[in-house]
């Protein structure tokens, strides 16, 4: 309750200062829009379905691109974690590739696939695949040995051991990897959409710039933050917390 009050206080103060600055016309309205102007744009965008369509298109891309990179990343991560040779070779390559911002894959994507849906998906996949793979690998390695020993001790072997022991035991680590992968995919998608024009939230953002419509820019930014927060901060985080508690990994923090 106290926390909710604190949130309420902070955000009303923030909006209050924003409104005050806009009212005082410190900067002209086309540079610094009013809060109610942004709210109006949001309302209008949902009313004429353009925001709904953009959200739908972006989410569809996320689901496909992220889905592919999760499946690939799980197998790659497990493979790298279980084989010393792969770990030294592919593992090192993955870590070095991760220093490449995902948007740098766009030129390759456009040359290979043209200005198509595939190019965007490629950027999303490259953006999240590495982090899913790497966290899968570290999760697999951090896995306490006791579980597989106990499993073997009780008669589990081979695939059964993997399915009934290794996989559930590494679930908290997997979810952490999935969460991180989602965040990376989201960033990659929006940057990709901003650079070449197709439907989607990134394009809506750029359209605001092209039309010099500052309210739309802010409104779409708020949308992107809200969507990211809902999925990352609420959905993934609560799953993660639940698993960590149950698995006995929860720390004092």
């Amino acid at each position: 309750m106290k926390r909710a009050l604190r949130y309420l206080f902070f955000y009303s103060a923030l909006i209050g200062v924003w409104a005050l600055l806009a009212k005082l016309r410190v900067w002209p309205p086309y540079i610094f829009p009013t809060p109610w102007g942004v709210a109006e744009t949001l309302w209008a965008g949902f009313a004429d379905h353009s925001f709904w369509i953009a959200i739908g298109v972006s989410m569809r891309r996320m689901l496909i691109g992220y889905g592919i990179s999760v499946v690939l990343g799980l197998f790659l991560g497990l493979g790298v974690a279980s084989n010393k040779f792969l770990e030294d070779t592919v593992g090192g390559l993955l870590v070095s590739l991760q220093s490449l911002p995902s948007i740098c894959w766009l030129p390759i994507a456009v040359l290979w696939f043209g200005l198509t849906e595939k190019a965007i998906l490629f950027v999303v996949i490259m953006g999240s695949l590495l982090s899913v793979t790497i966290s899968m690998e570290t999760g697999r390695k951090q896995l306490p040995k006791i579980y597989s020993m106990a499993g073997k001790n009780l008669g589990a072997r081979g695939f059964t051991l993997f399915w009934h022991v290794t996989l559930p035991a590494s679930l908290p680590y997997i979810v952490t990897g999935l969460k991180q992968g989602w965040a990376f995919a989201w960033r990659s998608l929006i940057s990709g959409e901003m650079i070449f024009v197709t439907l989607g939230l990134g394009q809506l953002l750029m359209m605001g710039r092209d039309l010099n419509d500052m309210s739309q820019v802010i409104a779409v930014m708020i949308l992107i933050i809200a969507l990211g927060y809902i999925i990352d901060g609420l959905v993934f985080k609560s799953i993660e917390r639940h698993l960590q508690q149950r698995w006995g990994l929860a720390t004092a923090s």
Binding site: I146, Y147, L154, G155, H164, G248
Partner: protein, 304 residues
């Protein structure tokens, strides 16, 4: 006939047997023991078992050296020794989770080939599966060997009743106290109906009252189920309170220093005078080994 001959030959490796001593009388017995290992096929038989590791610094560490040990069916054997003497490793060898460098580990006269559900090890850290409920944990071994669902449920219930946890069947392990988790591990091990129960300092992390209670329960369950138990502990009193026989191991390399037959009648209690007296005797022998281990760990400090 052949079998009988082999058993009697295998069971009396006269030169390997550690000096034997009956506590309370403080009389070291030579090779022959009052306790007749040749009458029955030993359940477990370790012949000249050694284990060495290559250390990171390039050296070689001998963890176990020439271990010779027989455990009879239904016997409660306790192994004591300073930390780092390889007692846990010994259990892992019997469980088939590690392999010895030389010598042989026999179960019912057959060499151990990896883990098997006839020997269940209860780890010091327990290794309960947190993603499963208490009942599912207990059922795990049966599920692995493909028992039908109904049978699993009935048996899990039965074993949970044995450890007095039937009302916690649907809880998750993180909701239980340390002593309760310990009992879940015991039930999970018993539910696979192993011939041999290997226990690695199972009660070390518990408070004294809980431990007393679990001693009683373990003794009762052992009496009811007639399993063979090999119980590793660093607590000598605990060993005397529980064991038919106590084996003392030396510090690095782990060797068997001496065996003690505990002839006290059951049920016993930790506070029993005879338990204390026998424990003191073993402790005197153990102290030497503890000093050795301390010296190794703290180096010059203890010598100064």
């Amino acid at each position: 006939m052949m079998q009988l001959l082999r058993n009697s030959l295998g069971a009396v490796p006269a030169d390997h047997r550690a000096p034997f001593r009956a506590p309370g009388q403080c009389k070291p017995v030579g090779v022959a023991t009052s306790w007749e290992p040749s009458l029955a096929t030993p359940k477990l038989s370790l012949n000249n078992v050694s284990l060495g590791y290559a250390t990171n610094s390039g050296g070689r560490l001998v963890a176990l050296k020439n271990i010779n040990l027989q455990v009879q069916p239904g016997e409660f054997l306790c192994i004591v020794g300073p930390s780092g003497c390889g007692k846990s490793t010994l259990l892992h060898l019997i469980a088939g989770l590690h392999r010895q460098t030389s010598g042989e580990v026999l179960v019912d006269n057959a060499p151990v080939q990896g883990p098997g559900t006839d020997r269940i090890l209860i780890f010091q850290e327990l290794g309960l599966f947190p993603w499963l409920t208490v009942a599912q944990n207990v059922e795990f071994g049966m599920r692995m060997n493909g028992s039908p669902k109904k049978e699993r449920a009935t048996k899990a219930k039965e074993y949970l009743r044995l450890v007095h946890l039937q009302q916690f069947a649907d809880s998750y392990t993180h909701q239980l106290s340390g002593g309760m988790r310990q009992r879940v591990a015991l039930a999970r091990a018993l539910a696979t109906e192993p011939d041999v129960l290997l226990m690695d300092e199972p009660f070390a992390a518990l408070d004294a009252q809980t431990r007393d209670l679990l001693h009683d329960e373990l003794e009762r369950i052992w009496a009811e189920t007639r399993r063979t138990i090999v119980f590793v502990t660093h607590n000598v009193r605990e060993a005397v309170r529980l064991g038919d026989r106590v084996v003392l191991m030396t510090f690095r390399p782990g060797q068997i220093k001496r065996e003690y037959k505990i002839d006290l009648h059951r049920p016993r209690h930790l506070e029993d005078v005879q338990v204390a007296a026998s424990a003191r005797e073993i402790l005197n022998d153990l102290r030497e080994e503890i000093n050795k281990s301390l010296e190794e760990e703290y180096g010059l400090e203890t010598r100064a």
